[in-house]
């Protein structure tokens, strides 16, 4: 790869107010008109965005010590009745987006509604609402207290950090239901006999689809996260770069993911929304945006790939997905998905989505404004994400049953 610019040079231009920044959508026509070479010379940054349910998300925070001291670690703590993870030190807690109150009926009244969970607690906390904390602990000589019942507010907490171990999937399945009855999945309500098809990606605005070979996005990259600033912390879980790709390197199914981190106190509840999937569970919809520095023509080519050249795999969620059958119903482009209907086995099927494209546009636009205003500079990753040839693979569980 021949480099034309460095991140340091782009940051200099940003400081001088001379950087040229466009969104992942605007760049498509520019490259079509001017060609890759000229566009790569002229454009410094392409901004991306995505907004959708991202389950492997959560927050950790430090409550501050009670008087007398209490060791919440190893005890039991709930936040607005949603259990938090207490297997940490005395007053550090972790709350996952999919946690739900013990008395939620789950799917006992099928399909369960899942109206409130960890994602909703995080949304309310970020919005500045008081959260009810109830804790019990076993008591020690140095931490004698056993019971706590208090309100907390984000402004009074010590550290309060969003830490999501898998976000921003590089691509995702299109979900259908080939059975004879309605099913309720994390991909939404799927109507029988392939009655609808749901997708979940911003396509041509999605961060990792615009830098499909991880040439600029890496560990340490500064990003838009939940309305504030965050960082890529690590490759996300289930990172699977070795999947089939188009000739431009765009994965044809789920591939890379990101673990991201950021200070919740500067985030905004518009971009962290408690979400309920009927019959499935609770989660949180999250807004993420990543700037792509145009360092070379190769980076430019990828950043300009449109929906029509990005493909997703159609998977049946009634049988094939739950039973891990390695089969599919073919591929479809994001342009087709966004047209409102696709054709599966000769049948016209209406499409719905879980990822909000208008919010993705808003994120890419916001990031563009931040950079233009000199409020957001680009970062050089400190380490790369594993590429398609790294040998990194997402494996199923090798189950070894334990004899009774």
């Amino acid at each position: 790869m021949k480099f034309m610019k460095t991140i340091a040079e782009i940051n200099e231009k940003i400081k001088l107010g001379k950087a040229v920044i466009v969104t992942g959508e605007e760049v498509i026509d520019i490259v079509r008109e001017k060609g890759v070479k000229r566009a790569a010379q002229e454009i410094d940054v392409v901004t991306t965005g995505t907004f959708g349910p991202m389950c492997s998300s959560g927050m950790y925070f430090n409550l501050g010590h009670t008087k007398p001291r209490m060791k919440l670690g190893g005890g039991r703590t709930t936040l607005n009745d949603v259990p938090a993870y207490t297997g940490l030190a005395a007053v550090d807690l972790f709350l996952g987006a999919t946690a739900m109150p013990d008395d939620d009926p789950r799917n006992r009244n099928y399909p369960g509604e899942f109206n409130y969970g960890g994602g909703h607690v995080i949304e309310e906390l970020v919005a500045g609402k008081d959260i009810r904390v109830e804790s019990t602990a076993y008591g020690t000589d140095c931490y004698p207290r056993k019971k706590l019942s208090t309100y907390i507010n984000i402004k009074d907490l010590n550290e309060c950090v969003l830490f999501n171990i898998r976000n921003s999937y590089q691509n995702y399945n299109v979900a259908i239901n080939a059975s004879d009855k309605t099913i309720y999945t994390y991909m939404g309500v799927l109507k029988p006999r392939i009655g609808n098809a749901n997708f979940c990606s911003a396509g041509q605005l999605s961060p990792l689809l615009k830098d499909p070979l991880y040439r600029t996005i890496g560990i340490g990259t500064k990003i838009f996260l939940g309305g504030g600033i965050g960082y890529v912390a690590w490759p996300g879980t289930q990172f699977n770069p070795g999947v089939p790709r188009t000739d431009k390197g765009v994965p044809r199914s789920g591939a890379g993911t990101l673990a991201v981190i950021g200070d919740l106190k500067q985030m905004n509840s518009r971009w962290l929304v408690g979400t309920s999937m009927l019959g499935y569970g609770t989660t949180m919809s999250i807004g993420i945006g990543i700037p792509i520095p145009i360092l070379s023509e190769e980076v430019m080519i990828n950043a300009a790939v449109p929906d029509a050249e990005m493909f997703a795999t159609i998977i049946d969620y009634s049988d094939d997905y739950p039973n891990m059958k390695p089969v599919n119903y073919g591929e479809v482009s994001y342009a087709a998905l966004k047209s409102g209907k696709i054709t599966i086995k000769g049948k016209e099927v209406p499409t719905g989505s879980l990822s909000s494209y208008s919010r993705a546009q808003e994120i890419a636009g916001t990031l563009k404004e931040w950079i233009k205003a000199g409020k957001f500079e680009l970062t050089q990753p400190v380490a790369s994400l594993p590429g398609p040839d790294s040998g990194v693979k997402f494996r199923p569980l090798n189950e070894r049953p334990i004899e009774a």
């Binding site: 349910p53 929304v273 309920s276 499409t351 719905g352 879980l354 909000s356 494209y357």
Partner: protein, 136 residues
């Protein structure tokens, strides 16, 4: 905004002996007009009323009845969208039997055509951020 609606109330046996309607008038400042009533002390009670009051009080009064265990069936119910809560995700697009939701431009903002709504209720629980609301 004032509302006036006709609703059917089903009282399960265990709630027929509580003065619920009295509370509706006293605590929520609602007016009512009984159109039909049949409350048999041993069975489920049924009441068809026209209920009038301010929207907010009306919604709170209805919630009070639901919390008390009364089942409510509406003869004219409204489904509205909480615009602040709607993320324009597009999950409702294929679910509405009356095709109330539509995407018309490249921004994929989801339009809600309220005039086509038949109040079937399908979108209420299927909307991930719970932006669709039903008012009895």
């Amino acid at each position: 905004m004032a509302v006036s609606k006709r609703i059917v109330l089903h009282f399960p046996k265990r709630v027929t002996d509580r003065p619920l309607i009295y509370h509706l008038v006293k605590d929520y400042d609602l007016e009512f007009n009984i159109l039909k009533a049949s409350v048999n002390p041993d069975q489920e009670g049924l009441l068809v009323i026209e209920l009038t009051g301010m929207r907010e009080e009306y919604d709170r009064g209805i919630k009070f009845l639901i919390d008390a265990g009364v089942q409510i069936q509406s003869l004219s119910q409204d489904v509205t969208r909480n615009e602040e809560r709607c993320t324009n995700c597009g999950n409702c697009l294929t679910l509405c039997p009356s095709h109330c939701f539509e995407v018309t431009d490249a921004s994929r903002k989801v339009q809600f055509h309220t005039e086509k709504c038949v109040a079937c209720g399908i979108c209420i629980k299927a909307c991930p951020p719970r932006a669709m609301e039903v008012h009895f």
